[in-house]
């Protein structure tokens, strides 16, 4: 009988070690003879580096080396590459240590290596850098103004790329014929990723074999290896092993190649000693790639019956001072392609300009492009509903793509393969008791209390991705995933996956999949990931791809193992393969369960090969390379309920209802964790978080004293449910859930606040909807409202 682990809320296998402090993170690792690196970072957003004098630092006993940018150049080390190219993309050199000029606060200008980290920090303070400060610019709009300071000479006007998607003429025509249009000018503010574990890298070099080992905080160790070996260091790939052990969260920020990895690798070779660097939290703020940062103008058109007919979008997307690994993809193919949302929106045109400025680089952050798109679409849908005087829920419903319209080709490249949007909307409305809420809201307003409700009917495209498709769009990477399932003589099953778990719970979810396929216990299965020395290859974890792509590779490989086991079983039972069935971990002859052989016995025979089919290789393992035929399209409706204090502007999130459709749930507990964390992050963006730069590029929110992340007290108990529309194209029918909460929630919370403020005539406010911003808006609006 099938045990059915899939679908069960199995407690995570990895949690005991995390909860008892016995996890093994990069900073927990120490190698004999190890020395420590500390970075000297530019305090200026833009400055010539006239000279660097390391003599005082080097004079400190215990200081081993000071490395500057020219040292890396002299060693033949290249800058950091860009992994996604667009037409006309400017890719200025991105050195690991600045040479001659620093372009953002926090850019590394020298690295100090010393016997311990305290010494290294002391010495870093003694490196004398003669800076000549230069004019600088932080804001995307400012950076495009004529005469703005230039970040890179080879990117005139600070333009990194100009990109568009959709049919401009058809969209313009839709606007010309529109019965009503609305426009929205918005800022999607810059965020810090805030993984709980700061980045860390520890490098070792074996002078005999010329092999490097890099322990590093990576969401995709093979991508790290490929780019470091082939592009940056110029060494054969097999001479670099990348190990990414237990990792405390990434949210995208650990996808990319970072300078510190290059520096410790170089230093380890030069010094013939292991070199370790762990980010201080203040370095995380100044050097982890940041997220979002768009300035957007959008317009929506409807016909006389209130059906959306056109969406026009113009976005300036901040790239920061340099392009990191996937930066160009985020505000383009992960953003413009999502502009149709859940709606039958026939004409869309979206233009994006990527802009350099003297700020920390911007790249993928949980949701990556899709939260920005969802925020825009769901905000402007609300704006239109309000303008038309229609109920926001019914306005959405009326414009949904009907369930009989799938597969649905959007005007922005994606083909939604499946979906059924109304049940999720209905369920969310039912959970929140929508009608009752509107009555309560009206009553509260009479008492001078301002309640608001915000909807976000989101869709996202994830499970990256059909390799040929992303290749045609500029990706310099494939997006399939690999798995190797290896059965030991004792029947223990090792599953090597190219996906990487840094909080997602693969050790449990993937084991559940395998356990069901083979009818064995979870403890018989070991999920191995995060080591290029063990796992053959993989593209890693981001874009909510682990279950849909990585999981599909696992299932495919384990089914191959089962097929081979069946051949061995048939031989052992002297039966025909097709007469066997697999039940509770054994093959048995159909109708006579006493004629059976267990999976464990088969595994043993596969290794002994004493009594074995002549035409079969010994051993019991199989690998699979799974390339999906499409993205997966999770969707749902989230609803936030808030109360805004008109006196202080403070917003309290009272309720949060989330109905998500990610297909069947492999593990509801893990899904709930992903949804909860995602909502918290999105609500954080809506209400609190903001990476603030002074106009000259000084960074004002570089610590948790100034950068507000949501805490338990800021959040209500989330109310979650699901609808189930399986993906039609992968073996498990699963869709991603890792980013959905973040993608949906900023819009839901922001819409709720704007709804609460509607009596004041306020129709839009930018995030974060901080108490000050809300208070100011009410104050400025009140005279107008009173005059009504």
């Amino acid at each position: 009988m099938d045990k059915g682990f899939v679908g069960q809320a199995v407690k995570r296998k990895e949690d005991p070690r995390f909860l008892t402090g016995t996890g093994s993170y990069v900073d927990d690792l120490n190698l004999a003879g190890q020395v420590h690196a500390a970075m000297v970072r530019s305090p200026f957003a833009h400055a010539d580096i006239r000279s660097i004098d390391p003599s005082k630092a080097l004079a400190l006993p215990g200081v081993v080396a000071v490395i500057v940018g020219q040292d890396l150049v002299d060693a033949g080390i290249n800058g950091l590459p860009v992994g996604w190219l667009l037409d006309g993309l400017k890719t200025p050199d991105h050195p690991s240590i600045a040479v001659g000029r620093a372009r953002h606060v926090g850019e590394i200008v020298a690295a100090v290596i010393a016997e311990d980290r305290y010494l290294a920090e002391d010495a870093a303070g003694l490196v004398e850098v003669d800076y000549g400060t230069l004019p600088s610019v932080a804001d995307v709009s400012d950076a495009l103004k004529p005469g703005a300071p230039t970040v890179h000479d080879d990117a005139p006007g600070n333009i990194c790329f100009e990109w568009s998607i959709g049919d401009k003429d058809a969209t313009d025509a839709a606007f010309a014929e529109a019965a009503q249009t609305v426009s929205l000018t918005l800022r999607n503010q810059r965020l810090v990723a805030n993984a709980i574990e700061p980045r860390a890298s520890l490098a070792q070099f074996n002078a005999g074999t010329e092999e490097y080992t890099l322990y590093t905080t990576s969401q995709n160790p093979h991508v790290h290896r490929l780019l470091l070996a082939a592009f940056i260091l110029g060494i054969p790939e097999h001479k670099l092993r990348v190990i990414s052990p237990d990792i405390g969260g990434g949210f995208g920020s650990k996808i990319f190649n970072y300078p510190e990895e290059v520096i410790v690798l170089h230093a380890a070779r030069k010094l013939k000693r292991p070199v370790k660097w762990t980010a201080k939290r203040s370095e995380s703020f100044l050097s982890d790639s940041q997220g979002r940062d768009h300035a957007t103008e959008a317009e929506l058109a409807v016909d006389g019956s209130g059906r959306v007919t056109g969406l026009r979008v113009k976005t300036l997307a901040a790239m920061g001072a340099y392009l990191t690994t996937f930066a160009p993809a985020v505000p383009t193919y992960l953003y413009g392609t999502l502009m149709s949302g859940q709606y039958a929106l026939p004409n869309i045109y979206c233009e994006v300009t990527g802009v350099f400025s003297h700020t920390v680089p911007v790249d993928a952050y949980r949701g990556a492009g899709r939260p920005e798109a969802t925020f825009l679409v769901e905000r402007i849908m609300d704006r239109m509903a309000q303008t038309l005087g229609e109920d926001p829920a019914e306005f959405r419903r009326k414009n949904f793509i009907g369930k009989d319209q799938f597969p649905y080709q959007t005007p922005v490249a994606l083909s939604y393969d499946s979906g059924d949007y109304e049940p999720a909307l209905d369920r969310a409305l039912e959970m929140v008791d929508y009608r009752q809420f509107r009555q309560d809201q009206a009553e509260a307003r009479r008492q001078g209390r301002y309640l608001g409700l915000g909807l976000s009917s989101y869709i996202e495209a994830c499970g990256l991705a059909p390799s040929a498709v992303v290749g045609s769009l500029g990706a310099q990477a494939g997006q399939w995933e690999s798995s190797l399932v290896r059965v030991a003589p004792t029947g223990i099953i090792e599953v090597f996956t190219g996906s990487h778990s840094h909080g997602q719970g693969h050790e449990t979810a993937f084991a559940q999949i395998v356990a069901d396929e083979l009818g064995v216990e979870l403890d018989a299965i070991e999920i191995v990931h995060g080591d290029t020395g063990k796992v053959p290859f993989g593209w890693g974890t981001y874009g909510s791809r682990s279950a849909a792509v990585g999981g599909s590779a696992v299932v495919t490989a384990v089914r191959k193992v089962r097929d081979k086991a069946q051949k061995i079983a048939a031989h052992l039972l002297e039966a025909r393969e097709e007469d066997l069935e697999y039940v509770s971990g054994q093959f048995q002859v159909k109708g006579s369960p006493d004629q059976a052989v267990s999976f464990g016995d088969i595994a043993l025979q596969a290794h002994l090969a004493h009594n074995y089919p002549e035409d079969l290789e010994p051993g019991l393992e199989a690998s699979a390379f799974y390339d999906p035929s499409n993205f997966v399209y999770p969707f749902g409706t989230h609803i936030a309920v808030v109360e805004v204090s008109p006196e202080t502007g403070a917003t309290k999130l009272l309720r949060y209802v989330a109905v998500d459709d990610c297909g069947p749930l492999i593990n509801p507990l893990i899904v709930a964790g992903q949804v909860h964390g995602g909502i918290a992050q999105g609500a954080g963006q809506a209400l609190l978080e903001h990476a603030v730069y002074e106009s000259d590029g000084q960074f004002l929110t570089g610590s948790y004293l100034d950068y507000a992340v949501p805490r338990a007290e800021h959040l209500p108990s989330f109310e979650t449910d699901h609808t189930f529309t399986p993906s039609p194209h992968n073996p498990l029918g699963v869709k991603g859930i890792g980013e959905a909460g973040t993608i949906a929630s900023s819009a839901a919370v922001a819409n709720a606040v704007i709804d609460a403020l509607s009596p004041f005539g306020i129709t839009h406010l930018d995030m974060p909807l901080s108490s000050q911003r809300v208070w100011r808006a009410i104050r400025d609006a009140q005279p107008a409202a009173a005059a009504d």
Binding site: R281, S771, W775
Partner: protein, 285 residues
């Protein structure tokens, strides 16, 4: 986070501690709960060469004592001890209430009253209550003891009346007459006060006889909102009066600014929270 290196001293008597301060002068810093000092050292914003840990003096400086008209609170009393003290709760509840608004449980279990006041963070909570309660602060130097009134103690951004070489040993809180309240608007990132208002009001038959208001978070140091006090004293309390008096909460003050709250918003919050504190304090009178 990596502080600069320093020498660590663990005196077991007050004299020993004072001796170490005298010996090392500006190079020495006292360490109480460490919840303000150590974060600053980790960021290398503070780089003392010598740390003089007061932990060994808990036997002498950690107490909350009934002295008749006054409650004497030893400088090493933790925020949690103050928050949960029955003596303070019944006889000087403003201080106990305020302590409950500081940080989280971990912070309250370690941070001390003396450290908090000596540090004089403009966004710290205790200054508001100490000012409204009209407490006195007892400073011990090598040459002897002196007592400074709360209004004279807080002098500016992280600046107090304590001289180098002095240790704050005790806070003397008059037994509270009338009702009190502390109203705080939390900074969403740090949890400190963007604005915190402590009020004590005494009165009979609807008339306010005495009112004290301490404000923190708004200016570079905690201050007494004397204009508010004057507007209330001798008047018949009403919601309207509280509101109009509260308009003076930031009068004459040059408010702080940060990305989260500009000067005008801070002053506005000071007015709102002053009204709330006055109203709640009067209800408890």
């Amino acid at each position: 986070m990596y502080p600069e290196s320093f020498s660590y001293h663990a005196p077991s008597t007050l004299d020993e501690a004072l001796g170490l301060l005298a010996q090392h002068g500006d190079d020495a810093k006292l360490l109480a709960g460490g919840h303000s000092l150590l974060p600053a050292m980790k960021l290398r914003l503070s780089t003392p060469a010598h740390l003089v840990d007061l932990k060994g003096l808990r036997g002498q400086l950690q107490y909350i004592r009934d002295e008749g008209d006054t409650i004497a609170v030893g400088a090493l009393s933790t925020h949690h001890q103050i928050h949960t003290s029955e003596l303070l709760g019944s006889r000087a509840p403003l201080l106990a209430e305020t302590a409950g608004h500081i940080g989280d449980m971990q912070v309250r279990n370690v941070g001390t009253l003396g450290g908090s006041l000596a540090h004089a963070d403009p966004a710290g909570d205790f200054p508001a209550a100490i000012l409204a309660a009209e407490a006195d602060l007892v400073l011990q130097g090598a040459g002897g003891q002196r007592t400074v009134a709360a209004t004279d103690f807080f002098q500016g951004f992280f600046e107090t009346a304590a001289e180098p070489g002095e240790i704050l040993i005790e806070v003397r809180v008059p037994v509270q007459k009338g009702g009190s309240s502390y109203q705080k608007f939390y900074h969403p990132a740090s949890g400190y006060a963007i604005c915190g208002v402590a009020a004590v009001i005494e009165g009979t038959n609807g008339t306010v006889s005495r009112c004290r208001v301490g404000v923190t978070g708004v200016s570079d140091a905690g201050y007494r909102a004397t204009a508010v006090e004057r507007a209330l004293e001798g008047q018949t309390f009403s919601a309207e009066l509280a509101a109009s008096a509260a308009e003076q909460a930031a009068a004459g003050v040059d408010p702080l600014e940060d990305p989260f709250a500009s000067a005008d918003y801070r002053s506005h919050l000071a007015r709102v929270h002053t009204r709330r504190a006055l109203t709640a304090a009067w209800e408890r009178n």
